[in-house]
Every structure is written in structure tokens, then in C-alpha cells.
């Protein structure tokens, strides 16, 4: 803000600035360090991991952990499932959410209030874990990747954000298109969607991250290893008894922590690679949602 530069800087004000910069830098480092530590352990040999308590830099490089992980067919199967869930799930999410948000942004359409209430009420009250589980089971979705897609087809929160964004689009823009003979559906495709690209990118991103990280639906609905998403595979690598795995050929115990951290890196790397591309969008997107409607 330009006005701030003109403030006469007193000693106290300067001292605060120094403190502020130092504190926030330390805070940012404390959010990044755990990831660095993980990376360092994942490329260390087990011997060097065990002999040094601080892992600022690997004292002896070893990629055994990665080699072990990359050879596991379960890793690739769970990757495939997660990618499928993320891509197909997000497409379904977006199709349903865009259509519903557009319709609900028309405040003079009959039934608008009833439908909005129907959606918002589900944020305040829910049937709970077990009744939802029974519905998913009755529909025959158990142990299928679809169990992680269909029951999560809409997030009401995202629906409301997008509806608020659509409501904010100038009406004149849409009305002129209507005069040109465009139908309501045409207006959505030719007018509303093109001006909403940042909002739509943001919401897609929210959905995609939710799918990629989804662990809740996985432990509820997926037992069969064939349908395991990445998060379940990881959990089995990280938290289940090593003894259960050591029977199957190579003992995990020998690879230990570096192997586990290699598994962790395998799940983080795709997100960290995509992060720089999407991060400029989501701040805008949340600001869109902050406008209440």
C-alpha cells in the first residue's frame, strides 16, 4: 500500500519491522523443514540415518528406498487408482457443480430458495457415518474406485463458492446475450464459463486435491487391495507392522525409515510439482468465496 511508505518510521516501528520479518521467516522455515528432513532421510542409507540424529544433509547417499518402492507393483496399482479417481472424480465434480451453481445463481427462478436450502442444510446436519456407509453398500459400490468418486460428487462448500461467483457476474452481460437469441444454457457456455476461468480452475483444484488426499472414503469403502488408492498403500507402508511384510521376501525392517520416507516422497512429489502452477489461482478463488451471498 502506497500510503504506508509515507509513515514516519520511528525506532519502535523499525524494531517491529525487524521482528516481523525474522518471526515470519522462522515460521515459513518451520513449515518447510519437515519436508526437507523427509527428503534427506529418503536419500540416506540406513546406516547413516541411524548414526546421525540431525538430518540436515545426507552423510551417505543411497537410493535403495526409492529402488525398493519403484519395484513394488502395489505402488503403481495404487497410483493408477488415485490418478483415475482424481481425474474422473474432478470432471464429474465440475460438471455437476457448474450446472447446479449456475441454476442456483438465478435468484428469480422458481424453487431457487428450496433447492438452496436443500443443499445448505446438508452442511448443518448429516445422517452420519454408518447410514451413509449403508447407502454406499446397498448401491454395490464397496471395494470399487467409484466408491471414492460418486459419494463425493459434490462439495456443498465449493458449490456455494461458485454460485456466489456466478451471482457476481454483471447481469447486463447475460441479458445482452439473451437478446441475441441465446438460451439460458447457451449463456452458461458462451458467456458465464469464459469469464469464470479463474474461479473454475480454483474449484477444480480444491476438488482434485481432495480426491488425491482422500483417505476417509478409502478406509470406509475399500478393503480389496486392487482398488487401493495411494493413501491406503502409503498407510500400509508407514504404519502397519513391519513383521507382516518381512515375510514377503525382502525384509522391510532392513530398509527401515529411509524406505518409508521414500514412500512419503512418492506421494508428495506430484503435489509439489503442480503447486507452483496452481498456487496463483487459489488465493483469488478463496477471495471469491469470501464474498457472501
Amino acid at each position: 500500500m502506497a500510503s504506508k511508505n509515507r509513515i514516519r518510521t520511528s525506532a519502535a516501528s523499525k524494531a517491529f519491522d525487524v521482528f516481523n520479518v525474522v518471526f515470519l521467516s522462522l515460521l515459513a522455515l518451520s513449515t518447510l523443514y519437515p519436508f526437507w528432513d523427509t527428503l534427506v532421510v529418503s536419500v540416506s542409507s540406513l546406516k547413516s540415518y541411524l548414526s546421525t540424529p540431525m538430518h540436515f544433509w545426507p552423510s551417505e547417499f543411497s537410493f535403495e528406498g526409492y529402488a525398493y518402492m519403484l519395484k513394488k507393483p502395489e505402488l503403481w496399482m495404487s497410483y493408477r487408482n488415485t490418478i483415475f479417481i482424481t481425474v474422473v472424480g474432478t470432471l464429474i465434480n465440475m460438471a455437476i457443480t457448474i450446472m447446479a451453481a449456475y441454476v442456483l445463481s438465478k435468484k428469480d427462478l422458481k424453487g431457487h430458495r428450496v433447492f438452496t436450502f436443500l443443499a445448505v442444510f446438508t452442511m448443518m446436519f448429516s445422517g452420519g457415518i454408518i447410514p451413509t456407509y449403508m447407502v454406499v453398500r446397498t448401491l454395490g459400490l464397496m471395494n470399487k474406485v467409484w466408491a471414492m468418486i460418486i459419494p463425493a460428487a459434490i462439495s456443498t462448500y465449493n458449490l456455494i463458492i461458485l454460485r456466489n461467483f456466478f451471482t457476481g457476474i454483471p447481469k447486463e452481460l447475460e441479458e445482452s446475450a439473451m437478446l441475441d437469441g441465446c438460451q439460458e444454457v447457451g449463456v452458461l457456455f458462451w458467456i458465464v464459463l469464459p469469464v469464470s476461468v479463474p474461479a473454475i480452475t480454483t474449484i477444480s483444484l480444491f476438488y482434485a486435491v481432495d480426491h488425491w488426499n482422500d483417505f476417509f472414503s478409502a478406509i470406509m469403502y475399500i478393503n480389496s487391495q486392487k482398488a487401493w488408492p495411494l493413501q491406503l498403500f502409503l498407510r500400509s507402508m508407514l504404519f502397519e507392522n513391519d513383521a507382516a511384510y518381512s515375510s514377503g521376501g525382502e525384509s522391510l525392517f532392513l530398509l527401515g525409515q529411509p524406505m518409508k520416507m521414500a514412500a512419503v516422497m512418492m506421494a508428495i512429489i506430484p503435489i509439489l510439482c503442480a503447486y507452483p502452477f496452481f498456487q496463483k489461482y487459489f488465493t483469488k478463488g478463496v477471495m471469491v468465496g469470501a464474498v457472501k451471498g
Binding site: 500510503s3 504506508k4 516501528s13 517491529f16 519491522d17 516481523n20 515470519l24 515460521l27 515459513a28 513449515t31 518447510l32 519437515p34 519436508f35 528432513d37 523427509t38 546421525t52 540424529p53 540431525m54 538430518h55 457443480t97 449456475y102 441454476v103 442456483l104 428469480d108 422458481k110 436443500l118 443443499a119 446438508t122 448443518m124 446436519f125 445422517g127 452420519g128 457415518i129 454408518i130 447410514p131 449403508m134 447407502v135 460418486i150 459419494p151 459434490i154 438460451q183 439460458e184 444454457v185 488426499n213 482422500d214 478406509i219 508407514l238 504404519f239 525409515q257 518409508k260 520416507m261 514412500a263 512419503v264 506421494a267 508428495i268 503447486y275 488465493t283 477471495m287 469470501a290 457472501k292
Partner: protein, 314 residues
């Protein structure tokens, strides 16, 4: 969009409604998938709550099973375990509220005071990252950092002459570890909404204040905080409305029988009773109890906000 009535005089109300819907058929058609979704995955489960009042017979299905009235609730309210998980849920999320609610507000105010925009963006980029990482992955990272033999935190404690602490194994430390790690994961993301509110503050207000001789502290107290107050209230209502959510994924990944006494929350209990032991009625009853309390909390928080002249969230 203006809705022009195509109805001619003499038509009945039903006909009018019919022709209205026909005229806007594509609009209603576009809403259909969402309606179907909400009915099947939200409203049918709400109906499924009746299982808490029945003796569930898998052969006959939920509807045909016999009613047992409040039997499951009477049993539940007589169980010590029930009060223990209720207490754990409330105490975990309350501790999180007390520390985790003000923290992002303070951080966004500090970010707002930074003079260098590029530096501000670097910090923001860093502190948003944990939001995008799942609890399974963060659980793995935590076990690495907090390990008693070779984690950095215990290495530092030992270097300072202390004894290593079992952050994830000792039941005195488990809950504080959950609270701190939850705040670590969420605070950065939670600053976004305040930063968004801060960008909409009119710069003229600051200029006028400077002319009047206000220093930075005065400006913070009399301009910045009042202008984000309504955002703070809305976020607080939402937080209070989710007090019954103590963080299922986080606890489910990291807890173990050694810490069940302090870490077993309503959701993990429902999961074990319902899906591991197969006692659907009992688990549904616990879940219903949670949903009702949750609902009451949202309504009360909203009422209180309105009493203080804020808009509320619905």
C-alpha cells in the same frame, strides 16, 4: 435474468406452473444431477438414522426391522466409554479452537504489515503447502520428526540435556502433539480468508488516520481489526459449528491402543463400533447424538452472532 410469464388468463395454476417449468426445462434439468446426489447421499442417510431406534436385521432390511425405541440410547448413556469419547472430542477441538483460532488472525495481521510484497508472497507460498498434504503423509513425516531415537525434535531435547519425549506414544503428550500438528497444517491456509478481507480495506482510511497523527498501533487497532471483525465472527461461528469434528483422519492415522484413553474421539469410536465390530445400531446412535449436538451448536452460534449485530452465516 428476467422471467417473463407466458401464461394466458384462464389457465389453472398447475398449467401455469407446468408451462413455466417447461419454458425453463433446461435449467431444471441442469439441477437434476445435484438433486439426485443430495437425495441419495445426504437425505436417504438422514432417513437411515431410524436404524438407531431399531434392532437391525440384515435379512429384512432397515425398514422391516423391529423397532426398539430408545434402547440403544439408554445403553449408550450408561456406558463410561461414551462419556470418555465425548469428553475427548470436546477437549481436543476446544483446545484447538483456543490456540488455533487466534493464530492465523495474528499471522495475517503480521503479513499485512510487511512492506515488501515479494517477501510476503514467499512466506505465503511456504505456509500454504501443508494444507495440500494428506494426514497419512503428514503422519509419516511426524513419526520421522518426533522419533525418540533419530528424530530432530528429540535430538534437540537431548542436546539441551533433556530426556527424549514419546510425543506419539506417551498419552500425556499425544493430544498436545495432535493440536500443534493440526495448527501447523492449517494456519497458513486459514490466513487466506483474513488476507482477502484485509485487501478490501479502503486505503483512504489509513491516509486520513496518518493525517490525524495515528501511529501504526493506532491504525491496527482502530482501522485494520474493526474492518476484518465480521470475517472473524463468521469464521468463529463456523469453527464453533464444527466443534464436534475433532479431526478423524489425523487421529485415525496416528492413534493406537496405548492412547485410546485420551485420543479416542466420537468418529473413531463410531468407525470401530460400527464397521469393525458390526454394531450398526449403536454406532448410528452415537453418530446421531453427534449430529444433533453439531446442529444445535451451529444454530446457537448463529443466534449469538446476530445478537451482536453480525450477519451470521445463514
Amino acid at each position: 435474468m428476467t422471467v417473463v410469464s407466458t401464461a394466458r388468463p384462464g389457465q389453472s395454476r398447475m398449467q401455469k406452473l407446468g408451462s413455466y417449468i417447461w419454458k425453463h426445462k433446461y435449467m431444471y434439468l441442469m439441477l437434476l444431477p445435484a438433486i439426485v446426489y443430495y437425495i441419495i447421499f445426504c437425505y436417504v442417510p438422514m432417513g437411515g438414522i431410524i436404524i438407531a431406534f431399531k434392532k437391525f436385521n440384515p435379512m429384512r432390511g432397515i425398514l422391516a426391522s423391529d423397532w426398539v425405541g430408545l434402547k440403544h440410547f439408554r445403553q449408550l448413556f450408561g456406558l463410561k466409554k461414551f462419556y470418555s469419547v465425548l469428553w475427548n472430542t470436546i477437549s481436543i477441538s476446544f483446545t484447538r479452537l483456543i490456540w488455533g483460532f487466534p493464530f492465523p488472525i495474528i499471522i495475517s495481521l503480521m503479513l499485512n504489515e510487511l512492506r515488501l510484497n515479494r517477501f510476503k508472497r514467499v512466506i505465503q507460498t511456504a505456509i500454504y503447502i501443508p494444507h495440500f498434504i494428506s494426514w497419512v503423509v503428514l503422519g509419516g513425516i511426524l513419526t520421522n520428526l518426533l522419533s525418540a531415537d533419530s528424530g530432530i525434535i528429540n535430538a534437540l531435547i537431548k542436546a539441551l540435556g533433556g530426556k527424549p519425549i514419546g510425543f506419539l506414544t506417551d498419552d500425556h503428550y499425544f493430544i498436545p502433539t495432535m493440536v500443534v500438528s493440526m495448527i501447523w497444517k492449517t494456519f497458513g491456509w486459514n490466513t487466506i480468508i483474513y488476507l482477502a478481507a484485509l485487501t478490501s480495506v479502503d486505503p483512504q482510511l489509513y491516509e486520513a488516520a496518518i493525517v490525524d497523527g495515528a501511529n501504526r498501533w493506532h491504525q491496527l487497532w482502530h482501522i485494520t481489526i474493526p474492518s476484518i471483525l465480521s470475517t472473524i465472527v463468521v469464521v468463529l461461528i463456523l469453527r464453533i459449528g464444527s466443534l464436534m469434528q475433532a479431526g478423524f483422519e489425523q487421529i485415525f492415522v496416528l492413534y493406537h491402543p496405548g492412547v485410546y484413553g485420551c485420543a479416542d474421539i466420537i468418529d473413531t469410536y463410531v468407525y470401530r463400533v460400527g464397521l469393525t465390530e458390526g454394531k450398526f445400531e449403536k454406532a448410528t446412535a452415537v453418530g446421531l447424538f453427534k449430529s444433533v449436538v453439531n446442529f444445535a451448536l451451529i444454530v446457537i452460534a448463529n443466534k449469538v452472532a446476530r445478537m451482536f449485530g453480525e450477519e451470521g452465516v445463514y
